[in-house]
Symmetry: C2
Subunit: 243 residues, 2 copies
Amino acid sequence: MRYQLYYWPHIPGRGEFVRLALEAGGAQYEDIGRTPEESGGGRPGVRRLLETTEDGRLPYAPPILGVGKLLISQTAAILLYLGPRIGLVPKAESVRLWAHQLQLTLADLVVEAHDTHHPIAKSLYYEDQKPEALRRAADFRALRLPKYLGYFENVLAKNLDGDRHLIGKSLSYPDLSLFQVFAGLRYAFPRTMESLSGAYPRLMALHERVPMHPRIAEYLASPRRMPFNQHGLFRHYPELDAA
Amino acid sequence: MRYQLYYWPHIPGRGEFVRLALEAGGAQYEDIGRTPEESGGGRPGVRRLLETTEDGRLPYAPPILGVGKLLISQTAAILLYLGPRIGLVPKAESVRLWAHQLQLTLADLVVEAHDTHHPIAKSLYYEDQKPEALRRAADFRALRLPKYLGYFENVLAKNLDGDRHLIGKSLSYPDLSLFQVFAGLRYAFPRTMESLSGAYPRLMALHERVPMHPRIAEYLASPRRMPFNQHGLFRHYPELDAA
């Protein structure tokens, strides 16, 4: 099967969670947003899909995965579909549901990380909501971030198959997404993450283990991997960070 | 199959999305948070579950659905599991995925509605983040709410089986959740919703149709249905509302 990933070309954003899974699973895919506009790609190629409703099913926002005629939006739904098909989650329904729950909790954390720099409105610049961002980021660093990191550390600790992976004994897509979230948090909040890291040894170890997966290592070293930037979910504003 | 719903007893909150599905599907369930503490229910009965990890799978937060030994958390994951089992979504995988996408988009809207009254921190009272709430609510009313409502109106309009339901020709769990979100928005923002309602005739019609479903009508008239209140996701602060 050949997949199409539809996502904006200028940020890793939520598209990167899908990209990491496609890469780790060795899937064949076209990254439509990053192919030339002349051949149907780029931002217009992504935007066009938001107006496509041949099957009467209107996607809300990218990322969108194309699989033949099927289009799937919402990051967690894409990974729910993709995971068992590319060997990134065991086939048993109870385990797939568990992976999906972890993914949804990661999605909740991502929204909260985003809202530290945009607590008032996506429609306004950061500079227009900076006092509010300072307050929200302080709460995020002190309470929300430790709550989420503590939860995932605990999930690793309680995994009956050992603490090297979130699920079972091998790499699954929530490991990949956790890697990306952790990397994003380190980009956005380097001082906070440095001072917190000692408290989450299993998360730290997982974060170092994921990029050693051969396909992920190859991907991360390739031009397909996009660095974090100041337009995405995770942004580095030094004043929102603290040791 | 007999289900257990674990959710806090004092608010409809996210538990209500699950409750509406269980009721519409005619499922047998125990509402653990609302059974007496002496018999293992109440808040302690819910809280206990957050520390239970016999299977090595730690839930993050309620609602949690118990199905035999299986525990499922995250509202959208619960409905994904429950929907096809209680006749609230067609069995075809592509349709189940579509229902799930709609549910996840509703979940995004719910977070944004909540954050209008808590834009800075869940750990602080509304009164301690009121200036920020005024700003966030203004953006929500002007941009975010119309964007979401317009999307769901469009989904109804483009449904190849007609505009009476989000999916196909009959009631599915996203219809129920949309009903609950719409009711919550009317509770929180009565003036805004009144002035917007003319723009979304299909949503209005669906909102009036859902409570006519016999099981839902019976449920809504029963003491099992909890009214909205000032502790939940949707809260009415007149200063956050506007015509």
